[in-house]
Each structure stands twice: as C-alpha cells, then as structure tokens.
Symmetry: D2
Subunit: 135 residues, 4 copies
C-alpha cells in the first residue's frame, strides 16, 4: 500500500464549502502515481516506454467531506491484477476519518492505444501492492 | 430524458490528447442541472429552499475519448427514485459515438446536512424522467 | 467582437460561494476559441496546420463575482495585432454587470515551438476583430 | 520569501503536453497559503476571524512550460503592502529553470465583503515577507 498526502487548496472547494466531488478522481491519480514511483517504475517512464494506463472505469463512494486546508491521506493498493489490466483501490482519510473509497480500472495499451499484455516484470512489481486480504 | 450539449475547451484535455477523465463528472453535473431546470425546479432554487443533493456515489465507464473542440451530448435520466434519494444515469456521446456512461446517487439532505424525505411534489417531477425501461 | 455565453457549473465555484478566480482564464479561452471559429479559421484547424498560440502573458481584473448557475457573457476582441503575436481583450458580464476584464498575449509558434510570422491571411482575418477604438 | 513545492499531476496537463496555463494561478494560491502558514496566521484562521483576501487582479508571465510529473518550486513574497491591500509576487521554477512570474493583488474585506484596514498585527507579519529589494 502506498500512502500519499495532499493539502486541499481553495481551488478544489465548492459552493457547499467542501471539496467538489470530481477532485477525488485527481487524488486517486496522485495516489497511483506515487504507488508506481514507490514500486520503482514511474508512470512517466512507462509512457516514455510506449505504454499507457488509460482509465476504463471508476467507482467512488463519498462518506464524509474534505474542507479547505485539510491534509488528506490517500491509501492506494492494487485490488485486481490481470494479464492485460490492473485495478487500483483507494481510501482517502482526513486524520482518522474515512472520506472516500473508490477504484479505477486500467487496461494496458500501447502507443496505438491497442490493448497489450502487462510485461511480466511490471506485473511482478504491481503484485507486491496487491492487498493482503486479496492474495 | 434531458439532452444537453457542451463544447470541449482546451482546459479539459490532458497530456494524452483527450479529455481528462475526472471532467466527465462535471459533464454529469451539467446534465442533471439541466434536467432539473427542464422539469421546472432548478437546483439553484432547491438550494435556496434549503435542500441539497450531495453526491453519495459515482460510477463511470469510459468507452471512447472526447477531444478538444468536440461537441458532446449529455443524455440524463433518472434511473432510481427512492423516498430519500435519487440516482441519475448518464450517457455521453460525440455525434453517434458513445463515449461514457455513468450514474450518480444523491441523498436529499437539509440545511444541517441531515437526510430528508424528498417532497412529494419534487418526487412527482423527477418521476417523469425515470427511464421508460425502468418504470 | 465575438460574444459567447456560458452557464456556471457548481464545479467552478469555491468555498467563498463565488467562481474561483482561475476559471476566468478558461472563460477567456472559450471566448477566443469562438472568435476564431467566427472568423472562419478554428483554432483546432490552426493546430492541424502546425501553428499554435501558446499563452505568453495574462492580465485579469476582477470587479464583481459570478455565482453558480449564472449565465455569463464573454466579449472577446483583438487589442493588439503584431507580425508574430496577437493580444486578445476580454470583458465578462453577468446580465449588465461587468465582472471581469483581461487580456492574453499569444506569440505564434510552429510545430517545434519556434516563433513564427502570422500568415497574412490569418492576420487579415484577425484584423477584423481589432477593437474600433484601437484601429 | 516562502518556498513551496508541488508535483504536477496528469490532471493539470493539456493537449499541448504541458501544464494548462490557468493552473499556475492555483500554484500561486498554494504559495501564498504556505507563506501565511509560515508567518504564523493561516488563511483558514483569517477566514474564521471574518477576514478575506479575494483576488482583485492577476498578472502572469509564462516563460517556459512545466510537464507531467515535474516538481515545481513556488517562491512567494510580498511586493506591495498597503493599509487595505496586499500584493504577492511569485516565481515558479522547475529545477533551475524559471517557468512563470506573476502577481496577485488582494484587498482585505470583512464578512460583508466591505474593504477593511489590515490589522496592524497582520501587517507586521506580512511586512517580514516584503522583498528586500522593495523595502
């Protein structure tokens, strides 16, 4: 599991005084980017190598709200690892309070956006982040 | 069903040359805002009346990408209408191509963010937008 | 002068109950995109032809605030037209109230991001949008 | 001078492969928020005390582009301190390369959005961040 922190700017809030809901998808992105950096193969390098993880689907459940200037904690793990796709799972907290849970599924595609098998080396790296309860 | 159109600005695109995925949640918001205007009770008026539809959960499936300057069509309907919550369903097209489908579920809450029964009058209005196949 | 309208979504608002200030730069983009469509040479086509108008500088003055669900009117004109750059001027209104004024300056660059002379044909088209008081 | 760092997410990039220009205004916000935290009076506390620094005007000059996954450095100082307004100045770098410079001017307003004198205590704190060359 990767743990990433982020301070909420004014820009992310809305008229209701809380973080606008679509921003949590950006926090998910921050989480999986840092998970990949931590496993030793950054998403930036992956793109330079001609491989992409576009988002195929998203689920997001909102339990409580983040507010301006809160520091949120994004916990990211891998909840499903297949031959040609990976699903990340996220939990976002503010201190001990659970704010949001969600998942994003990503097929691996090549330069021409064609689905591709995940190279064994990358699969091995991602395997380490599969949640224990899922193994 | 409400039909709303939107022109993609440069701001919504990303490094991959397509619309960044979190923006579709904003297009969903545009769709349900226009559905409520069309049924005769705007979301703005609803807030002035002390009622809110915060987002409880989101699902979003990405089938194809929108690009800069595309005009997208957002089709919004009601797919579930309960005593204290409503779920909207969305289909986003570019010309005839289906780009995205999704749902957002919203409890009704009052000024103090306490769950509240949907007033019968509003329920009757929303009922008209329940998808035929769902009735 | 081009006139473009836009309805403010919840996503654009912030904790203060008004539109977050950086969004006006996106409204400026919407204005100049529509000005170029109106003059008959879309920015999308321009990019396909290997020419870009990156933003070199921005000024923006905030006089009053836009709110959720307001329809704003973006008035865009050309305030300076040189051999290798153009400056657009913007006025944003909500009904009769002036909200924002601003400018964006754009050098013309080619595929390799090298500064380039504006083709005479494009210059002639832009010339028509130079504000009368500036001619 | 306050120094704040930020990692560019995919969400901030655009079709041109660089950070979309309006996002720099958000980075400016991050910079002045951290400057105020550093001087010992957070902007969040200031709002709780019924004082606001809305943005009156912005200037921004773009010298070079930030890209996905870059770490940018935001240098924030005070460049003008008056009885009822403050102007912050920003320089954004990626490693040693200067990307962006800019300013934002903020009147102090009270709960009713009426212009107000900056309390002497806050003024003294801000005074410490006035750029040396400006004193």
């Amino acid at each position: 599991m990767n743990i990433t922190k982020y301070r909420i700017p004014y820009a992310d809030t809305d008229n209701m005084g809380v973080v606008y809901h679509s921003n949590y998808l950006i926090y998910f992105e921050m989480g999986r980017t840092e998970l990949m950096r931590e496993l030793g193969y950054t998403y930036k390098k992956m793109e330079e190598d001609g491989m992409y993880f576009p988002v195929r689907n998203v689920t997001c459940n909102y339990h409580a709200s983040a507010h301006y200037d809160d520091i949120i904690t994004i916990e990211t793990s891998v909840c499903e690892l297949k031959n040609a796709s990976v699903t990340f799972a996220y939990k976002i907290f503010c201190e001990d309070k659970l704010l949001t849970t969600g998942t994003t599924k990503h097929p691996l595609v090549n330069y021409a956006f064609k689905p591709t098998r995940i190279p064994q080396e990358l699969k091995n790296l991602l395997q380490k982040y599969v949640k224990t309860e899922e193994k």
